[in-house]
Every structure is written in C-alpha cells, then in structure tokens.
Symmetry: C2
Subunit: 158 residues, 2 copies
Amino acid sequence: MNENTPSAEDRPFWYWEDFRDGEVHEFGATAVKADDIVRYASQFDPQPFHVDAAAAERSVFGGLVASGWHTAALAMRMMCDAYLLRSSSMGSPGVEQLKWLRPVRPGDTLRVRMTVIESRELKSKPGVGLVKSRHEVLNQHGEVVMQVDAFGMFGRRP
Amino acid sequence: MNENTPSAEDRPFWYWEDFRDGEVHEFGATAVKADDIVRYASQFDPQPFHVDAAAAERSVFGGLVASGWHTAALAMRMMCDAYLLRSSSMGSPGVEQLKWLRPVRPGDTLRVRMTVIESRELKSKPGVGLVKSRHEVLNQHGEVVMQVDAFGMFGRRP
C-alpha cells in the first residue's frame, strides 16, 4: 500500500486472516487546505482557532489548525481508500488512546502508518475476528500529528 | 445546561476552575437524518453501511448507520454549543476509550451527558489546567450510543 500499489480493483480483498501481528503498512497522501479546515470546523467544531484565521493567530496555536476530529476523519478516509473498502469490515467497537500530538495546519500533507498490534477471534461472534492496530498520522515532515489504537471487526475468510 | 438554560449570551464563561469533579451536565438535541449520515460518510467513511441504504440492509447492521466519527463530530458540536465556545478552551491532547456501543440510525436524536472525572493543574504549562470528562452520547431512548473519556486544556481564571 505505497505509491506503487496497483489500482484499487487489482488489490486483494482483506479478510480477518490477512491482518498479521507486527505488519506495518503506509498509505495515503491528503493535502489539508485552510478552506477544508474551516469548512469542517464550521459544522462540527467551531472553536475560534479552527474557523477564524485572525483569532487563531492570537491563540495558543499561533494560526489556524484543524479540529482533531477532522484529522481523525481524514485518517479514516485514507484507511477506507487503502483497504477498508475492499475488506470484510464489519465496523468498530471503538478506539483507545487517541492522541493529538501536533497541530495540523493549512498546507500540511498527511499520510497514515498502520501497525497491526493484535488480532484474535471473537468468541461471541462466530466467523468474526477483531483486529487492533495503531494508526499514526504523519505530516510531510515525518512528524506524528495523531496516534490512535483502533479496533476493527472483520469477517473471516469463507 | 438543560432546556431551561439561558441563551448562550447569558451563560457564564467557563474557566478551568469551573469544572468540578463529579459534576454532571446534560445538553444538546441533534436530530440525525439519513442525508446527513450519507453526506458525512461519502466524504470521510464511505463504507457501504454508511452510504448505501440497500447495501446497509444486507449488512450486519440491517440498515443505514452513522459513521462512528460522525457521531463523535456531532457530540463535539454539542459540546461547543453548550460550553466550549464560551470557555477558555485551549484544545485537547486526546481522548481515551472511545466506545461505539450502539448504532446511530436515521431518525435518532442525540444528546450528551458529561461527567467531570478529574481536573488538575498542568505543571508544564503555568496558567493552564487539564480536565478529564466522560461524555456519553444518548439517543432518544436513553441508550448510550457512544462513550468517550476526553481531556481538555483550559486557561485558569485570570
């Protein structure tokens, strides 16, 4: 899942069995524009440092920054495009330790580094497995701006 | 912060000192429509059970459900309207234990129950305090659909 990855149609379909502990995948390249930051935040998180460039200048951030929930949403979209839309995904029971480590600013380009932490069968749901994976969102400088350990449920290979 | 709460302009401004351990506040009333679910998910989480009613019928959810990140975003907006926009909010370092407990479906109306878990001064940042609070998102049946323990940084009262 890097820039040499074949087009989506050629990619394999991911079942629970295809997530192997310790495997690392990098994917995505999402450019973040000021307009995107303001549009998202105007709807969901209209704090001044997310929607008002002048107020953001005077804030602790020193300029416009993306809502942390926007960064999470952009990471989710990169996960969808990289593998979730061609997988047996059955949703997620939740995430652990979502950390916003650095501001995301206009002009940043984000990508995701995913590390499979643990996968196990779900005794309560036959045919379904749980995958825990760490998703680090990196900017163009290689800095981790967000880190989240997420659980995903996936159907087992038929 | 209930239905008898005065208009936003009359509400007090929240500093770090105004979050008291154990206090519970309920706020918000957000109606979730199918169009909203599909619009959000088309941009950020286009899994079939979030964007395609027919595919969602055949999925494990039995019908269209909101992206969990959409539910989180709606909760964030309710937090903004209830107190964050009139507070000394300085952003959040992250959240713990975000659980998606029940599906959010078209026609649901969501609200938030916030419980202050712990507040403490930040030794590394003079004048700033950290507040940890549990946010439960409830539907119109009183069922908790999402629960998240979130950290917020707030300026201290001058």
